[in-house]
Symmetry: C2
Subunit: 292 residues, 2 copies
């Protein structure tokens, strides 16, 4: 158990990385993960993502670790294909790399049949699986977890002892009770229906009103979806979102999550917006784009 996914990533940085080691990350990707490896003095190498997930042939030949979000890529929302997962594990064997698999929000899956996570497909003990209750329950709960190969456990326990000993016991006991009584499952089922309605509403309005400016990237899970913005620059998108922010609509530019050359786009997070306020937010975005 860790204080959210972030602590798992920070501890893994300490345990997996020697200063100067290469760590590959998805680009665009999740900046706090990158920072955890940078704090361990890794050389972070961005690797492109396509509609099947991280582009394995673009990975470096040697690396201490690769950080991926296969179930629901952050921020693009794509799911890593089975073929790509297999290729990634083969690369990891050849490169001698650990694979950090962050499954941060796929308690919420909409229709699509699940693909086995990397840590299930793994035959070499290379995959560390991290996740949290931040999305299924509350971010402020600060309860995450890390399922690590046996040969990493001692080092992780030592690093955790130095970092803060352990998490708050009362929170963990309360959560364990909540799970044992079946109440987390009920909560997730109810919220999945709610989140699916939000996702469907955003997708429908994007399809109907925003084409061809914004092209939704198909997504079947989680609490956000992304669009590609064709024919405009990152600066244009940043300008739109700055205007939206003034108007009370918080959206994030894909460019903000990128180290290298990625397509301009927007990420729509819908974990915090009620269904009946979605149209209004998107109308404001439409107005901003229309007047630009």
């Amino acid at each position: 158990m860790t204080n959210g996914v972030q602590q798992a990533l920070a501890l893994l940085g300490q345990v997996l990385v020697e200063p100067g080691d290469v760590v590959a990350v998805e680009d665009p990707g999740y900046p706090p993960a990158r920072r955890a490896f940078e704090a361990a003095r890794a050389t972070v190498v961005p690797v492109p993502v396509d509609e099947h997930g991280i582009v394995v042939e673009r990975l470096p030949q040697q690396a201490a670790a690769v950080y991926v979000t296969p179930a629901h890529q952050f921020p693009l929302g794509v799911r890593m294909s089975l073929a790509r997962r297999t290729a990634l594990l083969e690369w990891a064997d050849a490169a001698g790399a650990a694979v950090v698999e962050d499954d941060y929000d796929t308690d919420f899956r909409y229709g699509a049949r699940p693909i086995d996570p990397l840590h299930v497909l793994d035959r070499s003990g290379r995959v560390v699986y991290v996740g949290s209750f931040s999305k299924s329950m509350l971010p402020t709960l600060r309860v995450g977890y890390c399922v690590a190969p046996a040969d990493l456990l001692d080092a992780l326990r030592r690093a955790r002892f130095v970092a803060d000993w352990h998490g708050p016991t009362a929170t963990q006991l309360a959560l364990a009770g909540f799970i044992d009584e079946g109440r987390l499952a009920t909560h997730v089922r109810r919220m999945r229906r709610e989140y699916e309605l939000r996702r469907d509403r955003i997708s429908m309005v994007l399809d109907r009103v925003f084409r061809p400016h914004l092209r939704p990237i198909p997504t079947a899970a989680g609490l956000h979806l992304a669009v590609t913005c064709d024919g405009v620059t990152h600066d244009t998108v940043a300008g739109w979102l700055a205007e939206c922010a003034k108007d009370g609509v918080a959206l994030q530019a894909i460019g903000d999550f990128a180290l290298g050359d990625v397509a301009p786009g927007i990420m729509f997070g819908f974990g915090g917006i009620p269904l009946d306020r979605i149209d209004e937010g998107l109308r404001r975005l439409r107005r901003v784009i229309g007047s630009s």
Copy 2:
């Protein structure tokens, strides 16, 4: 707010120490603090402690930091004198060192008038004060704190973001309410009376039954007291305590907290033992010593 004192120490290690920097620690001292600085690749230098606290003239000339427990030295229980506090701050100015002041258990003070903590005496912005609710409330709460000079705050916030973002909000809000309603103060008052009874009982039995083998070190605060064991070796003390452990009596050897040459001794923690079981535990210790 930190996850206990330990997280504050780990973050301070990251922020204050470059690999190879010297960090001075009390000897005997608190091993988890030492480990936090070692994890930051500090060269840890042990410095003796006498009845007035850390021996300032034995401190190294240059250091990135010194870690001290002035209010109730861990594990010896002595209190740092005002003269020694002043000398320590003068040394810190000359050495260019930060002073990490760990005030881990002096919510419980028995009679003695308080001496200003280093962070109050500090005129140069060198002192970082850390503490926690582990002793005044519960160790499993994992709520500590760190009062740092302004010029360290940005670096500490960045390190905290990487480490785990922040602590669990619900715990902090509950604790804030508990404090605001005056219930923590009531709890501390009640527990202080209880702990003082335990300390007095242990001191009395030690004085009456164990002289001249064990010589109590005067202490006026906290949840433990220590004795010096005259005329025996560390190995002898370790042997006694191993026998006691078999008999269900958990005591710690001062030698276990030492890096250098310290007097053999025993630390008696009384945070967890009810008053009416103290005599029985000490009888068992007496039996072990008598038969050795």
